[in-house]
Amino acid sequence: MSAYKNFTIETDADGIALVTWDMPDKSMNVFTVEVMDELDKIIDQVVADGAIKGAVITSGKSSFSGGADLSMIKASFDLLKDAQAADPATAVQKLFETTGRMTWLFRKLETSGKPWVSAINGTCMGGAFEMSLACHGRVASNAKSVKIALPEVKVGIFPGAGGTQRVPRLANAQDALQMMTTGSSLTGARAKAMNLVHQVVEPDQLIPAAKQMIKDGLKPVQPWDEKGFKAPGGGIWTPASAQLWPAAPAILRRETAGNYPGALAILKCVYEGLQVPFETGLRIEQRYFTHILQTTEAFSMIRSLFISMQELGKGARRPAGIPKAEFRKVAVVGAGFMGASIAYVTAAAGIPVVLIDRDQEAADKGKTHSEGLVTGAIGKGRMSREDGERLLSLITPTPDYAALADADLVIEAVFEDRTVKKEVTEKIEAVLREDAIFASNTSTLPITGLARNSKRPDQFIGIHFFSPVEKMMLVEVILGKETGDKALATALDYVAAIKKTPIVVNDTRGFYVNRCVFRYMAEAYDMLIEGVPAAMIENAAKMAGMPVGPLSLNDEVAVDLSYKVFKAAIADLGEKAVDPRHMELVTTLVDGEGRLGRKAGKGFYDYPPKPAKKKLWPGLKDLYPQQKPEDVDIQVLKQRLLVTIALEAARTMEEGIVTDPREADVGSILGFGFAPYTGGTLSYIDGMGAKAFVALCEKLAARYGSHFQPTPLLKDMAAKGETFYGRFAPEAKKAA
């Protein structure tokens, strides 16, 4: 009988203890306080038991471990808050002690005097890999499922349980920094090449190989605890380091614009840590980790990019009591670029798809898109030939609507025209099963209006994909006025099946994501019209943390699309719907200059043939009198671009379009890359506080236009000292 809840221990005839980590009621092992307590006792037990020569630690699950339970880190935020309330003087000291728990537990393991080997049987992330690094031997299975990473930086923190000290004492510093500042995954082979694991073996050889290391006399002393140890490359003061260190912060700045304190802390920990003895390095890391945990970035990123994303992915918004939808067949109608891509991601999830268009040729062309993607993936070694063939065999292109008769879900992706959509809807419903769900992939037309074409509006819903569908993780699920719970549940089950993250929004022009994106581009138009140098606009956006500048983004989505959208808005809502100066700017580009965007080789940028880089069109300077760069405050430009988007997000909450702050946040990051370090649009507001945000809006409104006026909701929140997460508490809703 095991004395532990999360581990079993079996000692073999050779005196080698096999410690198997297998948490009950969890699909993946994670570090919790309880797990740490048990591991602590296991170390004591292994040390105390004279019959045990050494220990192999592995996992009883298909993966090794996902690392620290970030909910535990989130709990440390609460701990800090409570401690600060109780006694601000000792609060940080308490946090420091808490964050050191894992660090010194792993240190205890590696100095226990008995050899430990980590047998990495599957995905091994974060704290779990840090524990493995503390083991004296590391053996990884060569199974494809083995991914090794220290991905903490992606959620605003960094490897704080010895990772920043052990990795650069094993691998060369450049590889170590690359691995930790990007959080990228390594295969077992790559980890071995980097000197991070000792052996990569066949899965069935994993435990024997790990035990063999001990039998072969594995020394229970880490290299850095040996006398005369030198880090690979000789440490910091060497010619090679003189190449690396001056450039490392520059490259980080290029990649992050300095918006991620956690990433910079990695550099600091490695640089400072490699100049001192190992345990001093651990303490330095612990100090930085304690500091980073107190940043708004860490708090907001963990909440949005880990906890909320996971909750939404698990169907936080799914109505209860409806059986999980099975997808035996999905039909995609319209084999254009979007439809073809939707067919691909559906087939990639193992679901049979019929891809329908007006004739066989058009339908076949849609499947060609998938063939191209499969060929590319096989070429890059990301997909096996068999998997590729299986994927393609699931897509059936046809002009015959009868083929969708037995589909569980139909996704309409035809041209954005109400008449065309009406016709197609009727053709589909003429054959579609009574209980099937009808989804439209419209990006511009309100769902409620389209649902009027349907005989069963309660089974009609919007599933809005983003381009490129293969890469974009977000899907907007749009509820029409009459959309029922079954349609919502089915749509969410489908989004889960294709492994994307859904947000559920109510019906409005532009839904959520595009409303925000249009604000972003509109602010750039304003800046151009004010005579702000175009390069400053683009650079301000990137420095604010946006992945793509607004002018570049406009070129990607096409300038003539903006032109068409403006015209449609004027036709539907009247002249006042569009700022005439914006209309004039876009008209000049499209009608006057033929600058339609990237597809035309010219838009706000010129696109010379590769390898030359795109360059801003010099003619932009002549459109408006230019301000001097020194008269433009780059910080204000950054604020304007973020604030205008965040304000739009706040409006969608106020209008009830988006109802859950988690969805606004996650949607903004996955949908258009809204400055991830902020945690998303609403976390950006919450992070600075509604009061400060309202004051900032008022300041900007006075100078740059009434579109910056704070809304009544924001003013109310400012007056009451509320946050979006407090006022629209998602936890309460989840419980309900």
Binding site: A250, R253, R254, M543
Partner: protein, 402 residues
């Protein structure tokens, strides 16, 4: 305050800062000793009366380490009563050594100071003393650290200097330096470096390429595009100066200062010091200043420090007859001329470091001497000497004849 006079100055010729450079065989300390000997022997200096020897040295490590002026004083046979200290403000160290010495004299602490600098770049190498500025992420990041050449290219981009502009400046620097050498303008101040037998090792600046023309320079590839693009530094430049879309890489070995070996010494003193020496002063240190400037542009400190110095002294640009600005990179001088609308015939009139080289710690003292010689030759009165400095600083000194 006591007036501070310049009694004399000397420099070594500048040797190519590579293993095949003529001065590579000469240890750093011996280069320093050579100028200490020269300034003593030319002036009959009683070294027991030397209150201090202050020398700039940017990489005071290995054979330049451990307070090289004091070490050089032993080799030069100075009295053991003469103390020494080494200072660094990167490229302005030699001028800051002069200013430091001047400050001690002005305060009344010292009567006679030998100030100058030394750098054997061929023996020690660039950046060999390490440093948090570029190595430590906690400093590098907020300092917008970039290699200086990338900063120079940023200056060219921001202020609109083309490849032709910087190359034309470099051609002119070579022409002026060659003309000055041909006409013996440097003869009085350059002391040949001789071996232990009195045989000449080097008596001319050997980095010069007098025949250089635009066509020849056009063949050279930009030196800083690689670090700019691959090393991430272009992004640093853009984030510090977001109005630029990208860097226009224009600098190369032919329009940047040469890496060379050399040393210089300036003999400073109070009126009383002059009496001890029994020599007439050649010039006066009128004023000096230091400043920190935009760290990303890094090399525009001379503009800021000149403004500061003129404001402090109540002087006008028109009061300055000649300007001497270290030619670290062509764009540095072009920007200075652009900022103050200074015609080329009033600045670096005998060429500069693009032609003759920039022995880091020594250069400030060298160019102060060069322009004092030229004031005398032209019978003019006032000159401003300034250098751009790593990490974004500027040092400037105004001298006048007496």
């Amino acid at each position: 305050m006591t007036d501070v006079f310049i009694y004399d100055h000397v420099r070594t010729p500048r040797g190519r800062g590579k293993k095949d450079g003529s001065l590579h065989e000469v240890p750093s300390v011996r280069l320093a000793a050579k100028v200490l000997e020269a300034v003593r022997d030319r002036n009959g200096l009683d070294t027991e009366k030397v209150d201090d020897i202050i020398m700039g040295c940017v990489d005071p490590v290995m054979d330049a380490g451990a307070v090289i002026p004091k070490a050089a004083a032993f080799e030069a046979g100075y009295s053991t009563k003469a103390p020494g200290m080494q200072i660094s403000r990167f490229c302005a160290s030699g001028l800051d050594a002069v200013n430091f010495g001047a400050a001690k004299i002005a305060q009344g602490a010292d009567d006679l100071v030998v100030a100058g600098g030394v750098e054997s770049m061929s023996r020690v190498g660039l950046g060999m003393s390490g440093g948090a500025w570029f190595m430590d992420p906690s400093v590098n990041f907020p300092a917008y650290f970039m290699p200086q050449g990338v900063s120079a290219d940023l200056i060219a981009t921001k202020y609109g200097f083309s490849r032709d502009d910087v190359d034309a400046y470099a051609v002119e620097s070579q022409k002026r330096a060659a003309h000055a050498w041909q006409n013996g303008y440097f003869n009085n101040s350059v002391v040949p470096v001789k071996d232990i037998n009195g045989l000449v090792i080097l008596d001319r600046d050997e980095h010069m390429r007098p025949g250089t023309d635009m066509q020849a320079l056009a063949q050279l590839q930009p030196s800083f595009q690689m670090p700019g693009e691959m090393g991430g530094f272009e992004a640093v430049a853009i984030q510090a100066h977001p109005e630029i879309e990208g860097i226009n890489y224009v600098h190369h070995a032919g329009n940047s200062s040469g890496i060379v070996d050399g040393a210089a010494a300036v003999l400073l003193g109070s009126k009383e010091g002059g009496a001890i020496l029994g020599r007439k002063a050649r010039g006066r240190i009128k004023a000096f200043a230091n400043i920190g400037s935009d760290p990303a542009l890094m090399l525009t400190g001379p503009v800021d420090v000149t403004e500061k110095l003129l404001a402090r002294t109540g002087m006008q640009l028109s009061d300055i007859d000649l300007f001497e600005l270290n030619e670290a990179f062509a764009a540095v001088v072009l920007r200075y001329m652009q900022a103050f609308d200074i015609p080329h015939d009033r600045i670096n009139v005998n060429g500069g470091a693009i032609a003759m080289g920039h022995p880091l710690g020594a250069t400030g003292a060298m160019i102060l001497g060069t322009v004092l010689d030229e004031l005398e030759r032209r019978d003019l009165n006032t000159a401003l000497v300034t250098l751009c400095i790593g990490a974004g600083m500027g040092t400037a000194t105004i001298i006048e004849r007496v």
